[in-house]
């Protein structure tokens, strides 16, 4: 993916805004921001963002490519849609944040061990291999993502919750052995393979400097 990153740097050398407009979902909206700040002020997780959305938009225009794409900020978005509801210019801010996050991941620039990013990957691995989400395995993978020792600590801390979930049949320990799948697992696999081909072609096109 760093090859793609290199290709993008060369292609959009002087304009990160243009790069965002072309490659990021809903990225063409970024230039419409009038810097009023209502999105940042309305975000329930706002105080935890390194750069609130309004600042991200200005950084994109100011060509701060690395600072934006390597930032953990857009990974904080929980899709509450407060910003979209209030934005006076109607920018789909939530979608832009997700677009930026997935673009930075595609380029291999997403911050390492960012919990939202890790969760996304674990979720994807589960659903892509079985066509269904295996909640038990996702839970375990998330708890053990920072190593075995930390994982045991996490699991111990959550054990009451786990027991309660099993008691109320919200979690099935047998899921650990394979787990349930969808009806046409190979069909899902073929579909994802095709999607990957389309995506690879897309990336190859950029790599060729088109």
């Amino acid at each position: 993916m760093t090859q793609m990153n290199q290709a993008m740097i060369e292609k959009y050398r002087s304009s990160f805004l243009k790069e965002v407009e072309t490659n990021v979902e809903e990225g063409h909206w970024v230039k419409m921001c009038m810097q009023c700040g209502v999105c940042s002020g309305s975000c329930p997780l706002g105080p935890h963002w390194e750069h609130p959305p309004q600042e991200i938009f200005m950084m994109i225009r100011a060509n701060k490519r690395d600072e934006v794409l390597k930032s953990s900020s857009m990974w904080f978005c929980t899709s509450c849609y407060n910003c979209i509801a209030r934005c006076p210019r109607g920018l789909p801010i939530t979608h832009i944040m997700h677009g930026l996050a997935s673009y930075s991941k595609k380029l291999g620039l997403a911050p390492k061990s960012q919990p939202t990013e890790s969760f996304g990957q674990i979720f994807w691995n589960s659903i892509a291999s079985n066509g269904r989400v295996n909640e038990l395995k996702i839970g375990l993978a998330l708890q053990f993502k920072d190593g075995f020792g930390q994982g045991v600590k996490n699991a111990m801390a959550q054990k009451d919750l786990g027991m309660a979930m099993m008691k109320t049949k919200r979690m099935n320990p047998m899921e650990f052995f394979g787990g349930h799948t969808c009806k046409d697992k190979s069909g899902i696999a073929r579909m994802l393979k095709k999607a990957q081909e389309v995506e690879d072609q897309h990336i190859a096109n950029y790599g060729a400097g088109k």
């Binding site: 009038m34 810097q35 009023c36 700040g37 209502v38 940042s40 002020g41 309305s42 706002g46 105080p47 750069h51 609130p52 309004q54 600042e55 509801a85 209030r86 934005c87 006076p88 210019r89 109607g90």
Partner: protein, 428 residues
Amino acid sequence: MSEVIATNQTILVVGGGISGLTAALEAAECGKQVILLEKSPTVGGRVAQLYKYFPKLCFPTCGLEIQYRRLKANKNIRLLTLAEVTQVTGSEGDYDVTVALSPRYVTENCTACGDCEKAVAAEFDDEHNYGLKQRKGAYLPSMMAYPQRYVIDPRIIGTADAEAAKGACKAGAVDLDMQAQSLNLKVGAIIWATGWTPYDAAKIQPYGYDRFANVITNVEFERMLDPFGPTGGKIVRPSDGQAPSNIAFIQCAGSRDRNHLLHCSRICCMATLKQTNYVRENLGDAAKSTVYYIDIRAIDRIDDFHRKVKADANVSFTKSKVANIAENKANGNLVLHGVDTEGYNRYANEHDLVVLAVGMESTVPAGVFPEGFKINEHNFIELDPANGAIYGAGCSSDALDVNRAAQNATASALRAIQVINRVAGQEG
């Protein structure tokens, strides 16, 4: 009521605010026959509700008085108050207009002595003061009302109050049997100048205008300054009547916003700058003003005003659209939350009074005009050949300040005059 004479060489002006008055006067002083309609019992419109206007900070009574004198002196204008247009059909030079006339219950014999007002007990929200004050069921709409004639509120008709008003009138001017009427006018050109209404601040949910006593609008703030207004000319917090010491002005409250009014209302920046001046005049160094803004749109000569306000140590500017307001229940203060654009600093600032600079909402009605009539996405009347000889004037054509509204109205009068000249030419 004496008969209203209208022909297809008559210009109809709808709305008796500063734009309608100006358009009617300009046309009439050029010798054209004009009928001027006003929905409320008095002309003067929004301007009559202002304390002062910018940038010279003179009193509107002065500007209006000049117009009233011209109106009184001109035989070519027929003024009808309590008159509302319900339907317009026809085309250039040949319009049929249906007008609904509401009864005033007071005839031209009224001497404005005020005896009926004293005799009546029932009270209602005073429209002139945006409901911040009560008025009697028999009332003079404002000190500057023109015509200077009392009105009887239709809500007291049939009660003992109405009879008391009639009994108190020495001039025999109260006529409780007055009925609503419908008029059909034939006119050649129409100038539509029904102006604006302040945007309903309660719709801006995060600002809590409907929930917090000390969040008010700029038009209400304006009324506070009037010596005859709801607070006798004092700036006070509605919750406890105390003088505020730390006032926030929030710009673009409902303007430039897809969820509210899409257009820039143009006047609110200057209105706020002007109101910071009121704060300085009334409360001196005892009160600070903070203006929260996206950008201040003060152009040409009003930029000087902006610079002067910026030099005032008691006025500060925060470049940020406030995200939401919470109330401090202990003292009724308001906590403004947001992130500023100059440094992206998150703030939670406490103020003891918040003034929302609400925008202008056009009052151009739907379902009145002929088919195909062009009204733009902001509900302003377009200058478009499809509209024939119906011209928007003042704030029916765009969000304008008083100065520009008067210029715009004069332009619309010129357009209407040309239509009448064409009609007259054809008729020989």
